[in-house]
Symmetry: C2
Subunit: 447 residues, 2 copies
């Protein structure tokens, strides 16, 4: 069972409204210290990685503008996640660092160098969460006019990955770097190649600016669960982040099955793709204590922040909806498809729309004693989920509680590691530092 | 007198061929450790900043290709400089970090966030060296077809700076961030503004993704000495890096005078721009010891690397020139203007072209006892140079020798600081953390 801490270089990531508490360091996100401390805590707890989410625009759908997001610190302001990694890498030896970067924000030639630099500096502990952006404000700030359509963004992402694969895998041969002080040859020019990529979106001559890093291509995460997103994951991803309802082990199993089947059709193996479920653990010494903690979080949580978040995610202004209207009375012809989907997903049609939103805020909570939480994680694991992206309510408290309470139980059951395996992140997770030959990136290798 | 260490995230930066020595850590450039150690050394020595150069393409003019550059590790491979800063910032408190980023490599919206993030993480210790790139390989790898013309690149840089100024200075008002846990308001939406930039090269709606950092706009370095480059410096730069011959104090004084005059014409003050000369100190306990060290460096230095470097810089393949031809016998009609300029710059016309190249390799050397070096630095300083970008021969040895030997002499003379001034980098250098009102960036401030 794999464990990631899920975080973001901003004030409020998933559980909104809790930044006001005294026992969280969210207000310090602009500084190095809380990140360095977090990395040390996670490594002590034998976590596999810190997973850093990101957005490159504001959620401005709710009530027709970004006001609620700004007021709530809801994923805005948001600093660059990649720049946290070097400092955290300096104080750790094994913890992995997955960060999110959209294919819209940086030219692939520039991005490929950032990744290679990080892979060197971390000695192979970097992972990239490939995203295509869904916030139209991001496109407006990057000179793209409107946001390209969903499928166009994935098409662009496919080409973006091709460019980076060529740079990472195909430009410098394995034995290109000689470091030969006797013959005074740093590298062999015959083994460093331009890539001459000429595609629809990008023209990149190369060669790559960086010598081969431990993993070359970073460990690849992806999170899309749309049809096109699953196709993309099946082709490229090594780790897939899924968020399904806690009550729906079978929902996760079905997504996992679908993506693995598609991966196999592309020549990959089922075990080449690992799946991570997002959950928010609330640990208590007793069940009552845990429930009381959860109740306090819910009491302090901010529904406005969640509505702004959800509105941006589904692209519908939930501010236009009467929160007190019972779900059963909605006229499906008057609401957008994604709202209809939300309503249909609710098992209780006598509930109001407000109840629905609250239940979605809660569905990620996993509350109980260490044993109870371990039981539930084990149930997910046995249903086919490989690991978890753990969401914080307070930071680093959520992770400290989990590491002190739940990790020892999971270790005693032999479900999580007691010590790190050697080598780069991919080697720790999959046994090899480099991508397997059956991954599409490997087709670009030379020599 | 200001002191920067001049460095680059690559094997061989300026003095080529010396990476083969046992007493330099150049071969470790891909790792964090030598950088973290360097930062600690520099801060102990009260240096103002570490200045990180960069290129985003290969020098491929010499002999018609990049082979020599690759063989010599001559600025290729080259990793991203910005990613070194967070780890170095974590182990220091005062040292500044200037890094180079070309306006061609990253969209200004994305870049503005990187800078703001770094300015937060370093608590205001970041500087940006604005460059426009002169290597055609960079343009070919960024999908720009050919390299835009020199003046077009500066025009683009002007707009790039406008975009970033709007984001850094004009998007979030000073009191936009409330962090009000009682009223549960992180920031005031009325004080966060889109920038609606629509120019020739960029369209950026905004708002900026980051809350105000200590300096907002980072301390601005620039290095161009062309007519257009000087105009650009006079408008934007706070620190200008110049490289003139050691024998030419008056040459530096004339550039300084020219840029300051132009700056004043734009409404700035002469003291708003500081000038840094590049020099390679070689310190010995005695003059003879220093000369012997210099002789060893020259003996080991690699002329091929320097020819590849110079060919790329001037855009002429020096591999087509007979190195043993006396300068006096060159037919000026058959050589390119920049080569003609090189030859004309040599006082000794009986020398060969090889002698000329060697003398240019040597001209940055400043060799002697600590007292002798301090004397010469003082002479530069009295001629109007504000500080120095010190080039290494071996790293960190060059800086260790300088700090152990020369810094105490300069401190005894009251020429350099014995301790750091408080606050962000700009405050340390100019007395204020923010740009003065007379800088063009200030025009975009609101509220």
């Amino acid at each position: 069972m794999l464990l990631n801490a899920f975080h973001m270089n901003c004030v409020s990531h998933i559980q909104h409204g809790l930044w006001v508490r005294d026992d969280t360091r969210q207000l310090e996100y602009t500084q190095l210290e809380p990140w360095v401390e977090l990395a040390q805590i996670l490594e002590k707890g034998c976590f596999d990685a810190l997973f850093l989410a990101d957005v490159i625009g504001l959620y401005d759908t709710y009530r027709g503008g970004p006001e609620t997001s700004i007021l709530e610190g809801m994923q805005v302001p948001v600093n660059d996640p990649a720049l946290l990694i070097p400092a955290m890498a300096h104080v750790t030896e094994h913890l992995g660092f997955a960060f999110t970067s959209s294919v819209l924000q940086t030219h692939p030639f520039t991005f490929a160098r950032q990744i290679s630099t990080l892979d060197h500096l971390t000695r192979g502990r970097v992972a990239w969460n490939v995203v295509t952006s869904y916030l139209s404000n991001a496109a407006a700030s990057l000179g793209l006019g409107g946001l390209p359509s969903h499928d166009e963004r994935y098409e662009r992402a496919d080409e973006y990955l091709d460019v980076t694969y060529k740079l990472w895998e195909g430009s410098w041969e394995d034995d290109a770097v000689l470091r030969d002080t006797q013959r005074r040859m740093y590298a062999d020019p015959a083994k460093v190649h331009p890539i001459h990529h000429a595609g629809k979106h990008y023209e990149v001559v190369g060669p790559h600016l960086c010598e081969p890093s431990p993993q070359r291509t970073p460990l690849l995460f992806q999170a899309g669960s749309s049809t096109r997103g699953r196709q993309f994951a099946a082709k490229h991803a090594e780790c897939v982040f899924i968020v399904t309802s806690r009550s729906s082990l079978s929902g996760s199993a079905s997504i996992i099955q679908d993506i693995r089947t598609q991966a196999v059709r592309q020549g990959r193996r089922p075990e080449d793709v690992r799946f991570f479920q997002g959950l928010t653990p609330v640990v208590g010494g007793t069940e009552a204590e845990a429930k009381a903690k959860e109740a306090a979080f819910i009491e302090q949580a901010n529904m406005e922040g969640s509505l702004a978040h959800m509105s941006g995610s589904i692209g519908v202004d939930l501010g236009t909806i009467n929160l007190d209207q019972p779900l059963a009375t909605f006229d499906f012809q008057s609401v957008r498809g994604s709202v209809k989907g939300l309503i249909e997903s609710s098992p209780d049609k006598s509930a109001t729309f407000r109840d629905l939103i609250r239940s979605r805020m809660l569905r990620q909570f996993l509350t109980g004693t260490p044993e109870q939480i371990a039981d539930e994680l084990q149930a997910w694991f046995e249903a086919g989920v490989d690991g978890f992206n753990l969401v914080y309510t307070v930071t680093p408290g959520t992770f400290v509680d989990f590491i002190d309470g739940v990790v020892p139980v999971l270790q005693a059951r032999g479900l999580v590691q007691r010590a790190y395996a050697p080598g780069p992140l991919r080697q720790k997770l999959f046994g090899e530092a480099r991508l397997p030959k059956r991954h599409p990136a490997a087709a670009y290798r030379r020599g």
